[in-house]
Symmetry: C2
């Protein structure tokens, strides 16, 4: 059987972890050789990071797009300002910043408040003789470097106030943040200077299309200059603008979803070090269009029993952060999650995250508080994953209601609606004026239109009254300014007519699961990292096969030519079976080559040695246990293919292949 | 056997073709419901376009990245200005534009020249009584709408001049374009106004990072404002800046290649309608790093015999456009293609394009002329594919030499070089001055450095002379400004020393195949389009299975519930075999559903009817022939899986499954 492994012998060491990611080029700050040049928040992915990301995306595509027959889109990043003016982003997609009154340095207001209060609480703990606690799991806001406060004991009441503020930090408006700064004398921790009033800073990058001044802005929809454009901060608007085409592609049926994977941009005020708050990032977004009167989901039964950890809005708004464990079915039944479709997607997000290797014990769904919610959202749950910086929003799942489709429709006059054929047409009867247009024109000339409008504005009872009068002969109608018009049966009659409404027209609601792939990737790497019990320096990334950058490492004993045909054979057999392998014939020991690949998260290794040439056997090594087994070339390939596809586990592989004890080797 | 199909019964009808792409939402102008708002050159891909693009990318990844073990990268789009200042893009990545002197309209200078001269030539043909020729295959520049000229006969000599200018159009500088406008009285064809002198317009989109004014620009590398940034116009710089990390990842070995697929942006002066000249596009770029002294390629033998159509630089520069057919091996041997590595990639590009369905008869490789070449390139060949607008550059294959790595290295001081351990160290002997530093300082004080430099600047013969003099006692050395210094054996001796150089350090050259995926996708769609012989309205896209958006359409006879379990079974069996299918149970006839899928390029259709329920048989339809065959559910699935994988063709499938004649149906 497989060996036992102790992955928790050493506690998580962030410095060692980051050194590994950097050494193996998972990612690195962009423009590193230019010394960074003031462009924090931009990262390049190297070969293992790119492959890991590509594999996460491939799995996402399978799990969502293919499994649920979503309609994939690929829309532009560059977007005319008018679109974001309509969507509300020009006015409201902003963070609050404060300026240091002396240096002019810019800080995010909520980060300032959070950082300083946390530092004071830590100082209080120190003063009370309690060890400065390690960053608590709920420590959402990362501490700023300079935010260390002196060990000053605080009143018990003040501690409670601070804790309550921190629990609601995402809920404050700019005014309130400014008031907090004044009330608690919060200063820039880096300089100890006062800060000014919070100001809004729009997070969209602006650019300009075409040779400057070429577009005179004559378009009817434009208030902003024609050539002003923004880089999209989300892919969603690209979906909404194409709604009519998508609906048509789906044969007019609803519900359905569109999906898009692509880059978005946010001009963050203070990007964090690392992938958690960056200025350019890859998103995967789904817009699921649903009848507002029926948000049930036909596959809800498949996820009903999945139990999730939930942190409700009401709990946070009362200044706490206690979670509950509850099945999706119960949460929807109790109205904690608003409807089946929202619940279905929350559960599918949960399944996806587990599939790629996220630790379920460090995953919760947190509901947005009122002020925290994006301007377009009616309800929102974030999949938050715990990492060394605290709980991090990695997936948002928002009910955008009919907001976006309605505003674009109103702005452009293009109806973004569903027309549903009613099974039973709705039949109504109504009194309707029937005009003799010719006589009307002749009688009233320029006032004909006025007369018509006056009659058509009448409610049913008045129309009935008029009908009666006309049946008896002529009558008079008065306009608002007191002008009188004589109506006769020659000019009009009022008739009862039957109307059949066979189409229902409505603006669908949108449920939007939105994935930040960089945050997921980073957190997955943290969850996968551990160090060998006997040697803390030997880091391992236990990435699941499905996302591991390379599935199999082929290690010839040396770069000698006699191994080449075998290496070629193994490599091409694996490729034909759809398994991505790499050969490492570099000039170091096999042990060192395996250690390097443990760091790269490569789950399996195949050694080609003299026995392979002589007996056609190979050894197979598993990353986590470092177990080695032996078999014929074809046995080993068949086994590793099944391991990578997930149809067997390492225990099953051990039952098939005998342990390798070194005796089988040929010198 | 399979039926015969005549795909050329109708000539290519662009209007019908474009209507199809629009109707089936392959792609559409972005922000269409906003009326376009002056943002030409931006397109959204709908579901079939997105899938087609994703499949082309997946095949590209297999053909290049996996097959050749390239190192994949994913770098940022947003790039600080300094990087493009170094790369030369700030100064030189520009087109020449001219302004209409009255309206201020901006035109691309080369388009103006090309358009007007072509219109005049067409007018000449008309005047000579020759039918206005259809756009010639070499008609590289698309005619502007307004460019129609009157039927005026030209002198034979003028015709020759015009033709020669058109053949070299890409070769003119801004000055020359201005001169052509004056010499031939070329005016804005839309207004008939004169145009001004050509001016450069930089094609990069600019933006700004961070809250305005936050970055005071103190970084050493910066001349431009710190927060000025550009959206990359190519992915290449992201590769080059990471060269050292990539080399290390590759264990210091060369040659190797990095590869990246991603968005790039060019602020085109006059984007064309359609995907051929857009402002935002997806590229796939390879940077292959090679020893400048050895540009052989170890797999060149695999492509040596591939025969290509080549259009050489020298031919174009003499005002002609005759091509030759020649094997890659011969072209490299004759120096037409500069080296094996360039030849290897040209051949691999050719193989890739054929694999995804490009017609080889409409594919040529054109060498860039001198002035046409990008500022960084030493040699360049474009894969040009013919479509209804003429020959279109779809892939560039440039030898960028050491340009980029050298300039970034010089700017940043970070060496972007390869250090190669020499197998045989190079041993040299040299005369070297050995100083008594203490005595030197005491004797010459502030001039000690000057003296040292004077001696160390001496060539070997002079050093030998000095050695002799010192052996005999004191001697004198003169500085450039005539100052004399007395040297003695106490201050220095000259000694013969042995030097071993075991490392060779060099800047690699870069061969860059660069793919414009939108242009390839569009041209592939054109090459795939035809109409049924018996009905010109019935358009078909004969996309190869490997790139077709959907591989198999499952068509239940009706949406009746009894078909649901079978549809489910077929769909999940196909999914398990890795074949992407869609179900169409919409409320129209099977014939209409197939016609829709012929337009979508779906190669195979499976019909589920009452016979399927009763006898577990299904029919299989092939898109191009419309042949239908019948078999058991499992036979049909096995056959269609092999068809999609390309392991059998339709003829082989027909040998396995009997023809369906309708008799097997159950009513």
């Amino acid at each position: 059987a497989a060996s036992e492994v102790n992955k928790t012998a050493h506690s998580f060491d962030k410095a060692r972890f980051e050194a590994l990611l950097n050494r193996r080029f998972f990612y690195a700050p962009a423009f590193e050789i230019y010394g960074g040049i003031g462009v924090a928040g931009l990262y390049d992915y190297g070969p293992p990071g790119s492959s890991l990301q590509a594999n996460i995306i491939a799995e996402w595509r399978k799990h969502f797009i293919i499994e649920e027959h979503m309609l994939e889109l690929d829309t532009t990043i560059m977007t005319p300002a008018s679109v974001f003016e309509t969507s509300g982003h020009v006015a409201r997609f902003a963070d609050w910043m404060v300026k240091d009154t002396k240096t002019g340095d810019v800080l995010r207001a909520d980060h300032l408040v959070g950082g300083v209060l946390e530092a004071r609480l830590a100082g209080d703990k120190e003063a009370r003789g309690l060890a400065a606690a390690p960053p608590a799991p709920d420590d959402k806001k990362k501490k700023k470097k300079g935010a260390k406060a002196a060990a000053v004991k605080l009143d018990d009441e003040v501690v409670k106030e601070y804790e309550s503020i921190l629990a609601q930090l995402d809920n404050y408006s700019g005014l309130e943040l400014g008031e907090l700064c004044r009330t608690y004398a919060l200063r820039n921790p880096d300089t100890d200077n006062e800060v000014g009033e919070p100001q809004q800073f729009n997070l969209m990058f602006a650019s300009s299309i075409g040779p400057t001044g070429q577009h005179p802005g004559e378009n009817q929809f434009l208030k902003l200059p024609t050539n002003l454009s923004y880089l999209r901060p989300e892919t969603a608007q690209g979906h909404f603008l194409n709604f009519s085409r998508l609906l048509e592609f789906n044969n007019g049926r609803i519900p359905f979803a569109s999906a898009q994977i692509g880059r978005s941009f946010r001009n963050e005020i203070s990007p964090r070090a690392g992938l958690l708050r960056v200025r350019e990032f890859t998103m995967a977004e789904i817009e699921h269009y649903v009848d507002p009167e029926d948000k049930s989901h036909e596959r809800f039964d498949e996820v009903r029993d999945i139990v999730l950890t939930l942190l409700q809005k009401s709990v946070q708004e009362s200044g706490n952060n206690g979670t509950i464990r509850m099945s999706v079915g119960d949460a929807v039944a109790k109205g904690i999650i608003a409807n089946e479709t929202l619940g279905y997607f929350i559960a599918r997000i949960y399944q996806f995250l587990l599939k790629i290797g996220i630790n379920p014990a460090r995953l919760r769904f947190r509901q947005h508080m009122k002020n925290e919610m994006a301007h377009y959202a009616a309800d929102c749950w974030d999949a938050e994953i715990q990492n060394s910086t605290g709980w991090t929003e990695c997936v948002g799942c928002a009910d955008r209601a009919a907001y976006d489709l309605s505003v674009h429709s109103a702005r452009t006059g293009h109806p973004l609606v569903v027309r549903q054929a009613l099974k039973e047409p709705i039949v109504t009867e109504k009194e309707v004026p029937e005009w003799n247009k010719k006589a009307l024109g002749k009688t009233f000339k320029g006032d004909a239109g006025v007369v018509q409008k006056l009659v058509e504005a009448l409610e049913e009872p008045e129309l009935l009254k008029l009908k009666g009068e006309l049946l008896q002969g002529a009558t008079v109608i008065k306009s608002e300014d007191g002008k009188e018009f004589q109506l006769t049966p020659e000019l009009l009659t009022i008739e009862r007519k039957v109307f059949k409404q066979s189409i229902r027209e409505y603006t669908p609601n949108v449920i939007e699961p939105s994935f930040g792939l960089g945050r997921i990737l980073y957190t997955l790497l943290e969850h996968s990292f551990w160090a060998r019990e006997q040697d803390v320096e030997r880091g391992v990334l236990s990435l699941p096969s499905v996302v591991a950058p390379t599935k199999v490492l082929i290690v010839p004993l040396s770069a000698r030519e006699e191994f080449a045909p075998l290496v070629q054979e193994v490599s091409s057999k694996l490729r034909r079976a759809g398994v991505f392998s790499r050969v490492d014939d570099s000039n170091t020991s096999i042990g060192k080559r395996y250690a390097r690949n443990d760091e790269l998260g490569t789950p399996f290794g195949i050694t080609v040695d003299f026995a392979s040439v002589q007996n056609r056997t190979m050894t197979l090594r598993e990353r986590d246990t470092t177990d080695q087994r032996i078999g014929t070339i074809d046995e080993v390939i068949a086994t590793v293919v099944e391991l990578v596809n997930g149809s067997i586990d390492w225990n099953a592989a051990c039952a098939r292949l005998p342990a390798y004890d070194g005796v089988q080797a040929v010198e």
